[in-house]
Amino acid sequence: MHPYVELVWYKAYADLRAEGARAYLGMLWWVLEPLLQMTVYYIVFGYLLQRGGPGFIYFLLCGLVTWRWFANSLLRGAGAISSNAGLMSQVYLPKYLFPPMAIIANFLKFLIVFLLFLAFLIFSGSALHWSWITLPFLLATQMLLIAACSSLLAAVMPFLPDLKMLIENGLTLWMFMSGVFYDITALPERAQLYFRLNPMATLIENYRAVLIQGAWPDWPALGIIASVSMLGIGAALYLLMRYDRIYPRAVMS
């Protein structure tokens, strides 16, 4: 294995270990924290706002689990360069190594929750569908989208530190636009068109189709998201390499 590949994996593992060691319940929080958040949303939307119907719990969890993966990766990935200022000023490392460390750590955390969600779907009586075999493609598409968004953000953050203040609220807005809590197909035709420009809305819709309805994913839509994401990853790589030796100075001053 190339030493850099080895390093990315080990650093992701080390950061996760350190994170787990920080609280009494340690890694249990990776499951407890999402459970708590999902309960809150379920109470608000299912009971207080009476949005629920039969199967609302599956509908909601499907959106939340995958959205959380996206949002947490972005929050952490965006600071991948800025938060490693100390390391960068002591040793030369190619800066494109930093976003993958954050992305891998978040993917592993997501995977635990996602597998639990699948188990919940199976054991609560929602049928197991053949369409589930397409899940790896859905996950891979979302992974590409996450890699593109978070490495692009990571690449510009050191020059625009104020962006940090906007990201969290931006993500909240994005969440409400992505159909986590409602069905986009229930919206008027014209509005749907705009919603489909949002890759996360499309992805969540596809997860629901595959996991709950047992339908096949919308391949062309996934293809478009994957291709645009790859362009984004290319652009991020270009920036990260171009400013490779500028970042240490930018985050220092």
């Binding site: 080390a14 350190a18 060691a21 240490p248």
Partner: protein, 258 residues
């Protein structure tokens, strides 16, 4: 293979190099600040070059430049090798990980293969005197234990050009003697080394040649004796009451720099 008649090629050559930082001044105002203005010198294979200058002369910026961490804004740098690295103790250490995990992570950040570190782990543990503690979390370590582990790992990194900043030895008295001695051996060996210090005694003990830097400009470069004489003259001229520059021995100087 060994063509002695030819003038040796420098492994690193700086010509009129300058590095600037942008400093914040008010809400939208930025100010350019030149940490290095005009630095020129050459580094040759196998030598120990000392860089001397007072605090704020631009020494740490120069080290970052030599290590390839940052780029210059003006001037030229010619490198025969890209493998130059700062000797950094406790690089990337995380308090919640065990000593072993920290050793692996730190070593990998310095470019050592994971397998290599794991194979050398017994030696690292023995040298750092951490038998029985290596699988404990780093947060349970004393400052001395951390320093010893940091040194034991950092010493295994093997760049072609080793950049050393001031402190050579670390830890309690006995370990400091041990680590200082090892560093001395390494510097006097075939290893190409750049030592940066504000202390004439450190440079005098360790280096064949020296470069004197003052507010980001190379004042003089040449044999250590010559440079230190000039540096010392200036120091005594500036602080007449001191008479001449104090020259404590290296070990006690290092003690103050931990």
């Amino acid at each position: 293979m060994n063509d002695i008649t030819v003038e040796p090629q420098p492994v690193l050559e700086l010509q009129n190099v300058g590095v600037s930082y942008k400093r914040r001044k008010g809400l939208f105002k930025r100010e350019r600040f030149w940490a290095l203005r005009d630095v020129s010198f050459s580094l040759y294979q196998g030598e120990s070059l000392g860089i001397i200058g007072r605090n704020g002369a631009g020494k740490s910026t120069l080290l970052k430049l030599l290590a390839g961490i940052i780029d210059q804004d003006r001037g030229q740098i010619r490198r025969a090798t890209l493998r130059a690295a700062l000797l950094t103790l406790r690089l990337g250490f995380l308090p919640y990980l065990t000593g072993r995990e920290n050793a692996i992570l730190s070593g990998m950040l310095m470019g050592i293969h994971r397998r290599e570190i794991e194979q050398a782990m017994d030696k690292i543990v023995a040298f750092a005197e951490l038998e029985g503690f290596i699988d404990q979390p780093l947060e349970t370590y004393s400052a001395g234990m951390r320093a010893r582990l940091g040194f034991a790992v950092a010493f295994r990194s093997n760049p072609e050009i080793l950049l050393v900043d001031e402190a050579l030895g670390v830890g309690d008295a006995e370990f400091r003697r041990k680590s200082t001695e090892l560093m001395r051996q390494k510097i006097h060996s075939d290893q190409t080394v750049v030592v940066v210090s504000h202390s004439a005694s450190v440079i005098k003990e360790l280096c064949d040649r020296a470069v004197w830097i003052e507010s980001g400009v190379t004042k003089q470069a040449g044999p250590t004796e010559e440079i230190l004489a000039a540096y010392g003259d200036q120091a005594s001229a500036k602080i007449p009451r001191r008479g001449k520059l104090k020259r404590p021995n290296v070990v006690s100087h290092i003690t103050r720099n931990i």
